[in-house]
């Protein structure tokens, strides 16, 4: 695509991110670590999802919902991460990698279970490849229900962590 055409697109589209909804109220019973205020790096772990939640996470980090404006960013390595966003049921093959990923994340760390499958196996409860839900293996700090959850819900969960 030639640069002039791209420049025209950029100037015409302008800003298409949705305006920011009001910040979620802080939950006094489940306080978030103070050191993660304003800056949260997220490492996504897919332990066996159908990719529906991934699409919504992609939308949340995309241009329309733009969760980066609240200080959250996707990173490639759990060593760089503060929050592990886990989607999907935990299949047998992914039990060990999930545990290793959590182990490889420096503290203070949070685990967010995104989607109904991560919460209680959703549609796939009892299937032969399923070992359990995320909370069966690791401590879950936040949950985002839905099948799939709307991007606004994912953004709200991350805003609880960053406080912005």
């Amino acid at each position: 695509m030639n640069p002039f055409h791209l420049l025209k697109l950029i100037t015409r589209a302008g800003r298409f991110a949705e305006p920011a909804p009001p910040a979620p109220a802080a939950d006094a019973e489940h306080p978030m670590p103070q050191s993660l205020r304003g800056s949260v790096q997220v490492r996504h772990v897919d332990t066996g999802s159908c990719n529906g939640c991934e699409i919504e996470i992609g939308a949340a980090f995309g241009g329309v919902y733009d969760v980066e404006r609240y200080g959250a960013r996707l990173v490639a390595s759990p060593r760089h991460a503060d929050v592990l966003a886990v989607t999907g049921v935990v299949t047998h093959n992914m039990v060990e990698p999930l545990l290793r990923t959590v182990e490889a994340t420096p503290r203070p760390r949070l685990v967010i279970a995104i989607g109904d499958c991560a919460h209680d196996c959703g549609l796939f409860a009892g299937a032969y490849g399923v070992a359990g839900s995320v909370s069966d293996f690791v401590d879950v700090d936040l949950e985002v229900p839905g099948c799939p959850p709307r991007p606004e819900a994912i953004v709200e969960a991350l805003r609880r962590v960053t406080g912005r």
Binding site: A13, A17, G38, G71, V75, A76, S77, R79, H80, D82
Partner: protein, 313 residues
């Protein structure tokens, strides 16, 4: 004494402004992509948070994991101290000609490469190998382009080159000068891991060069690595900007001159960073095996710059 104070001011200002440069670049990119962006102060928050996170060490890794980030940071600070950014004064007796600066940059490069190898993972080794290959192929262009700039001045000390260019406008707009600056821009993009040589925000390990060497570092190790890399960007981008627009640098300790120099540096650096970020929106990363062609092209430009500066007299 005065020179040392000026250099201290330069180091402090450059270090303080470096996260802002990154913030501005990310914000420009975000706005052009139609997003809101996290704000220009986000890198400061990121570093503060990293310092509060626990660093990890795998059983069986060596002290390189702990030492390499610090070596990178200190070498980047040295480069910031030696390159003319805010001031053209030099700490007396400290050598600051081009080859010393390049060698100190290379210490940081080597530290990163060893960190990648020490990780013991395939990604670390791959990043290390690509990083060193690019460093090796960019060397000729670096030396050649500053050589081209040093010929009319008769010295390879960077501050003298900037002073000479500032004193005589006709020197700045010569073909040799322009070619050399263009070649240096390609060098900066290659050395600091920006597009089109390397994508600093990629998550695909097979496309990573810089990122994959730091995959195993967390907490304050990662903070030193990030700040060290950002400082290199500040120093190199600041150098190129000061070669292209060599005005406004302080050479005396008058408070007004120093203030003007600091403001001028900040403005020049942020504008240059914004331009680089804007250009990156239009570019895709080139294949690894096309990078040597890009670097060879920049070498040819630098060689032409040398020839042109001979012909110009």
């Amino acid at each position: 004494m005065i020179a040392t104070l000026l250099v201290i001011v330069q180091v402090v200002v450059a270090t303080a402004i470096t996260p802002l440069l990154l913030g501005v670049m990310r914000q420009v990119r975000a706005r052009m992509e139609g997003r809101v962006g996290p704000g220009v102060l986000q890198p400061y928050r990121d570093v503060r948070k990293l310092l509060a996170k626990e660093p990890l060490r795998a059983d069986g890794s060596s002290g390189v994991l702990i030492a390499a980030p610090l070596v990178l940071l200190v070498s980047s600070l040295m480069v910031v101290a030696l390159v003319p950014l805010v001031t053209t004064a030099n700490i007396p007796a400290v050598p600051n000609d081009l080859f010393v600066v390049v060698s100190i940059l290379l210490i940081g490069t080597v530290a990163l490469a060893l960190l990648g190898l020490d990780a013991g993972t395939a990604f670390g080794g791959m990043g290390s190998s690509r990083h060193m290959m690019i460093a090796a192929l960019v060397e000729p262009t670096v030396l050649m382009s500053v050589y081209a700039l040093s010929i009319p001045v008769g010295s390879s000390t960077l501050s003298k080159i900037v002073v000479a260019r500032g004193a005589d406008v006709t020197r700045v707009v010569t073909p040799a000068g322009l070619l050399a600056v263009v070649a240096l821009v390609v060098v900066v993009l290659a050395e600091t891991g920006r597009l089109p040589v390397d994508n600093p925000s990629t998550h695909l390990e097979l496309t990573m060069i810089h990122e994959s060497m730091i995959l195993e570092s967390g907490g304050r190790d990662l903070a030193w690595l990030e700040v060290g890399s950002w400082l290199r960007l500040t120093a190199l981008l600041g150098l190129v900007v000061n070669l292209a627009l060599p005005w406004g640098l302080a050479d005396s300790a008058q408070p007004l001159a120093v203030l003007v120099a600091v403001v001028a540096f900040i403005v020049k650096l942020l504008v240059a960073g914004a331009l680089v970020a804007a250009a990156e929106v239009f570019m895709a990363k080139v294949r690894l095996f096309k990078v040597p062609e890009l670097l060879a092209g920049s070498f040819v430009l630098a060689f032409l710059a040398v020839t042109a500066s001979y012909l110009a007299g």
